[in-house]
């Protein structure tokens, strides 16, 4: 008589969106480890069709309340390529500042309120605030610094209103940008301390040789541009993404899963992939923090992503500080005008959770004729399942509650943004 053991997490906690997990073990062998996304789809790629070019950044922001800027800026860059316009270096720097703000607030949220409770053995950031008030208060203040950047540059922290195709509706006041300096100086020092603290955590898991995928720009750490590279040697332009990656539908999930072609292998995107492939590109303070935190690259444990997020907060603070300090006058122009025309183009950026790829097609009437969006969590789904299958044999000796917690922790290591993952994906363009 074979022994069948099942455990389920019906509603995953401390993730953005709605997901569940189903595991089936037959005679000690893991038969099923399904990370299921049951969040209902919202069909964004269809929603933008027939809309005006200028409306796209506002609409796609609503895919995710935690990383709206990633969606807005990826869309703007792709649409600008399709329209044949190039923004000024000043506009590019302000976009980078805005993106840094989003990285700081998103990473600070995940590190302190969603992820750290796992390492401290508590149920939430609220519980952690009772036992480690300094850690949580500092984390919330870090998050506030990121949100403040988004307010100053973007007009609002959740779903910024100032981002448009061609640049910004209104130039942020240079004095307001310089007003960020004091907060950012504090945040930089705080983030450096944070790296040292989280690197002393115990990191569970089975070490893996991940095939990571991220952007690698000509200079600097990957954020808003670059070629798509992988641990296994891929080096392609964003325009060639869909020749090397593909999405497939699995019956247990409303999010499509991405695989790398031709082998249809899962791959890793996000902080761990970025730091493994681009740690040589970290700005000085972040590089020093990474070099002295006691971890060796490449990192092979998903749980160590908490350290990478802290390192990336340092990097984002450093970059944001340099941009804020150098703001001497309001930029002019703040927006490059465009003439409507038909065209199509893609762009990829690094959302806090990893590679984000967009493609848009503009019709002869100047309206959006087609769109495709591949968010980071769809790309990580396959690797999350692969991680679960790898670590499960090691936790089967535990009782169900402990084994379930171990599985949940693996999923939270990825900071999955399920709301993003279900806002789908490959759209067949009617021609």
């Amino acid at each position: 008589m074979s022994e069948i053991r099942r455990f389920q997490v019906k509603s995953l906690a401390r993730v953005e969106g709605e997901g569940s997990l189903r595991v089936r073990v037959v005679d000690g062998t893991v038969e099923i480890a399904e990370f299921s996304i049951y969040e209902p789809p919202r069909f964004f790629e269809k929603l933008v069709r027939g809309r005006e070019i200028r409306e796209v950044p506002d609409i796609v922001a609503r895919i995710c309340g935690i990383c709206p800027v990633a969606y807005q800026l990826t869309a703007c860059e792709a649409l600008e390529k399709a329209l044949g316009i190039t923004v000024t270096p000043d506009i590019r720097r302000l976009r980078r500042l805005l993106y840094c703000g989003e990285w700081i607030q998103s990473h600070a949220l995940h590190v302190h309120l969603l992820h750290a409770p796992d390492f401290m053995g508590v149920e939430s950031g609220f519980a952690l605030a009772a036992t480690h008030p300094d850690l949580v208060n500092r984390g919330l203040r870090l998050k506030m610094v990121g949100s403040r950047i988004m307010e100053v540059v973007g007009g609002r922290a959740v779903h910024p209103v100032n981002v448009t195709v061609g640049g910004f509706y209104r130039a942020p006041a240079a004095a307001d940008l310089r007003g960020l300096v004091a907060d950012l100086e504090w945040a930089l020092a705080a983030a450096i301390d944070l790296v040292a603290e989280v690197s002393r955590f115990d990191f569970p898991g089975v070490p893996r040789d991940y095939d990571g995928v991220c952007l690698r720009p000509a200079v600097g750490y990957p954020v808003d541009n670059g070629r798509i590279v992988s641990t296994s040697g891929l080096d392609i332009d964003a325009a060639d993404y869909d020749r090397h990656f593909s999405e497939r539908q699995v019956p247990w999930s409303t999010a499509l899963q991405s695989v790398m072609l031709p082998e249809e292998k899962p791959y890793l995107v996000g902080p761990l992939a970025r730091v493994n492939l681009c740690h040589d590109r970290l700005p000085p303070a972040a590089r020093l923090a990474a070099a002295t935190c006691g971890l060796d690259f490449p990192l092979r444990l998903s749980s160590q992503s908490i350290v990478v997020r802290a390192i990336e907060i340092v990097a984002a603070c450093e970059e944001a500080l340099a941009i804020a300090r150098s703001a001497m006058a309001d930029i002019s122009p703040c927006r490059i005008e465009f003439i409507q025309r038909a065209g199509a183009a893609c762009h990829a950026t690094e959302a806090p959770r990893g590679l984000l790829w967009h493609r848009y097609e503009i019709g002869g009437d100047g309206l959006i004729a087609g769109a495709a969006i591949v968010p980071p969590t769809s790309q990580n789904q396959g690797m999350i399942e692969s991680d679960l299958k790898t670590m499960l044999p090691g936790v089967l000796g535990l009782d169900d509650a402990a084994a379930t917690l171990a599985c949940e922790r693996v999923i939270r290591d990825y900071d999955p943004c399920i709301s993003c993952a279900t806002h789908f994906l490959r759209l067949t363009v009617d021609r």
């Binding site: 509603s11 906690a13 401390r14 993730v15 953005e16 969106g17 709605e18 969040e39 209902p40 789809p41 919202r42 069909f43 269809k46 929603l47 809309r51 005006e52 409306e55 506002d58 609409i59 609503r62 895919i63 995710c64 309340g65 935690i66 949220l109 309120l113 409770p117 149920e123 939430s124 950031g125 609220f126 519980a127 605030a129 949580v136 208060n137 919330l140 203040r141 506030m144 007009g155 609002r156 922290a157 959740v158 779903h159 209103v161 100032n162 448009t164 910004f168 509706y169 209104r170 539908q249 019956p251 409303t254 499509l256 949940e408 709301s419 789908f424 994906l425 490959r426 759209l427 067949t428």
Partner: protein
Amino acid sequence: MTAKPRLAVFKFASCDGCQLQLLDAQDRLLELAGRVQIDHFLEASSRVVPGPYDVGLVEGSITTADDVERIRDIRRQCRFLVTIGACATAGGIQALRNWGRIDDFLSAVYATPDTIAALATSTAIADHVPVDFELRGCPIDRGQLLDLLTAVLLGRKPHLPGHSVCVECKARGIVCVAVAKGVPCLGPVTQAGCGAICPAHDRECFGCFGPSESPNLVSLTGFYERRGTPRESLVRLVRSFNAAAPAFRAESDRLEASE
């Protein structure tokens, strides 16, 4: 000492941005966490305590058959049910599907649409159960959220405005984008609460807080049309983040029917 009020946060189809406003309350977050008992807030805590709850905050719109059952159950468990944001209050941007055919949407995205459960429409929470308070916005305003929670805790009426963004805009001394720049703006018919941030950034209000009290949309769109804005652009303007809010829906349908 009486027991702390029990708070629950529930999510339906949404982007998480409104829940995030609660976590973005920074210094006031921990103060709030000390004054209420957070018994169901999956995005923030693994601790889930069964209902009933004193206050339930609901984010997101109803888009599946399961959702319809779940919101009825949640209503039974909550003394006060509060919808937070444009999705819960009006169906959200995903309600644009209400003007299309769901099969077109499904087959456009999925190879095997049968495994996906989705209703033909995205609807507001109040279309399914009685709602005690609604907070507008895409996303909601943090200040309004904290005021509403404080009001419920103290047993007073929340201070939520019924007037339009136009009033906020004038109070801030912002140059009118519609009058001075000829940009069609929904400020005159949109509920206040955002601080008129879009006109403050030299752009139109796109109605993310939904209709204000007694909005006169016919008059407003007629004004813009006489000034040269094509009717199909006005349909798109009114049909966005609060497309299915009754006043906005009626106007976009009227404009479309008379195209």
